[in-house]
Symmetry: C2
Subunit: 252 residues, 2 copies
């Protein structure tokens, strides 16, 4: 199996021109990689503490993340001789989804990925021919409606689906050094994490509560075929992939 | 040689939701087609009667045409079971360009296509694998700068470049029935036009002056390998391609 790296980049890197540029420079040197941006930048509407995507917001997200940010990233990567192609989950039906059903809360135009319908053949077509997809976190319902989708989830779904054809590493890059024992001290990064150690840390209440959903998702990805999950600083991309920086999460 | 149809759609179709939807429905039934949108909708700045693309305008065009309009078209085509993929000339380096040199006028961020550098292999990769590229009229300078490019020119350059690998028909679709003898009477459409007849009509001053640059470009495309050029109403796409509507321009 060929190796594939799926990289999710956080919103505060995307919004910082110097950091983004340095990130893209490193990214361009990595082959067989897919990148997924974040949507945190758009001013969100909240109802009862939940983020809601109304009609104006989905248009705005499509403009900014599907258009401006995505194409600026592609132009920069092309300048670094990386043959990037900007896509959303709508393009080539790369990530089909369904509008989240309205229960207690109506999230609006939010898509839940239809995992089993991800077009792995379209992904392979691009990846096996030297194209590097850069994905804006948008999906569609197959009936003409564009949907907003959480970028962490997108990255995870792509990594899981492509695990049937590649040996996939999933990288969550953000502004922190990795999974930390002390949330305010970057030197306390945990280098390796497996289920047993994770359980122990949770029991000792040494994991920052905000990290728990991310880590639960990481282990879920491993259980769905992803080879490893790496969490760490976007400015140390090469080191993250080499395993010399950040937290590498493995099943054993 | 496989057949390929390159279709340019005018701005007043794109800006009219009902017309666009009907156009896309017809488009979805045509195989082996590439579509190029227009940029007329953006409010332009003029200096001495010339359209100028400043930094704010290129960002706006990238957002609206590279993002919102393009992805909405893709979502609709996907709903019609057409495996469309939205691209700009930046993506996959599909259309490299150079910033127009400043002479008497500084056009700003406007790209002149580098015809000989169009990546025909990337086009073939998409087209030969059932993907239908929908192109927003943006190019890039290879150094990270996105550039605004005339959609008529984009369509023509793509058609010319792909003539080396396909038998290409180039369709300019807009709100008129075709090339007219009387600009205000759609029933005066010229069904077939060749160089001899064109010269005769020009001599008799029977061609509307505004059509002359378009027709000169059409004949230039034919002289660069394009098989035929068709000009006509976007709402009659199937008939245009069948030659039963609009003006078909041929070299003989």
């Amino acid at each position: 199996m060929d190796k594939l790296t799926v990289i999710k980049i956080g919103g505060n890197i995307i919004d910082d021109e110097a950091k983004l540029s340095s990130f893209l420079k490193s990214f361009a040197t990595i082959s067989g990689a897919t990148k997924i941006g974040d949507t945190i930048g758009i001013e969100s509407k909240y109802v009862d503490g939940r983020r809601i995507t109304d009609a104006a917001t989905i248009d705005l997200v499509t403009m900014v993340y599907g258009g401006l940010v995505n194409k600026k990233i592609i132009a920069q990567l092309q300048a670094y001789a990386c043959n990037a192609i900007g896509v959303t989950g709508v393009d080539g039906n790369l990530i089909p989804a369904t509008k989240r059903p309205v229960k207690e809360i109506d999230y609006g135009f939010v898509g839940d990925v239809l995992s089993s319908q991800i077009a792995t053949d379209s992904w392979e077509l691009l990846l096996n021919n030297g194209m590097v997809p850069v994905v804006a976190p948008l999906t569609h319902d197959g009936q003409g409606q564009i949907l907003n989708t959480n970028a962490d989830t997108m990255a995870q779904e792509i990594a899981k689906a492509l695990s049937s054809v590649y040996e996939v590493s999933l990288v969550y890059s953000f502004e922190k050094a990795g999974v930390l024992l002390d949330a305010n001290d970057d030197s306390t990064v945990i280098n390796k994490l497996n289920p047993k150690y994770y359980d122990q840390l949770k029991e000792e209440q040494k994991i920052f509560a905000g990290m728990i959903p991310k880590l639960d998702n990481a282990f879920a990805a491993l259980n769905s075929g992803v080879k490893k999950v790496i969490i760490g600083n976007a400015e140390q991309l090469t080191e993250l992939i080499a395993g010399t920086s950040g937290t590498t999460i493995l099943n054993d």
